[in-house]
Symmetry: C2
Subunit: 152 residues, 2 copies
Amino acid sequence: MAHKSKKPRVLASGVFDLLHLGHVKFLEEAKNTGGKNSQLIVIIARDTTVEKAKGRKPIMSENQRRTLVESLKVVDEAILGLEDFDIGDVIEHIKPDIIALGYDQADVEKQVKEYVAKHNLNVKVVRIGRFEADELDSSSKIRQRIVEKYAR
Amino acid sequence: MAHKSKKPRVLASGVFDLLHLGHVKFLEEAKNTGGKNSQLIVIIARDTTVEKAKGRKPIMSENQRRTLVESLKVVDEAILGLEDFDIGDVIEHIKPDIIALGYDQADVEKQVKEYVAKHNLNVKVVRIGRFEADELDSSSKIRQRIVEKYAR
């Protein structure tokens, strides 16, 4: 069963490489799903997990990414993920009331929903839309801009 | 005369392109110079000011840079700089008790000290050392890493 307290616990996760407004807006909307008193806990993907999934390490190290995310007003706690990522372990450890997923986390959503259904947990799963703006709102766009400007 | 209130006002400034731990540590140390109750106000350099000084615009726009910096726990207020940067205008407008300068802001320090002395202001000027770590702690190092990894 999900942990019940007066402060709804919202769980979000991600890589958060090259921190940008899209990340902050995602985290703000995630926290909002739990209301005013909610606590936002963020899992930061390990360097090794990112490398396995995307074939390359993030630009910024996991420690730097974790510290930066925890420096944000909207974040109550940022934790490094498990070396061997397992959604069940994360849910059992954090005991969230709500799991908020980003626009690009369809694969995680499927795993989460299956786990929650299988174990009959009282956990709400919400999907956060993409932040739309005429701005650099993804790490890959930022990398692209830098390469265009600085590479020969 | 500097504005006197119960909350010491600390002023810091910078470009804050590609937000990294060095920025956050600088801002935390800046705020600390004013003690527990201090208020940290940060001036974000305009795109045009950066272009004039460095011959190129920042990667992230001034609006994105301002919003990100204001999203940090340590920052009370982030304000875009004047289009025509003038240290005297900034000091008269913000009325800081302390002006904190980064390791790479020797030029601004000189201007600030001259202005403060000339106008006989009660403003403390402090220099914050560079955050030493085996990490990406400057925007140019981050750009360099990206270009190395992604450019052909």
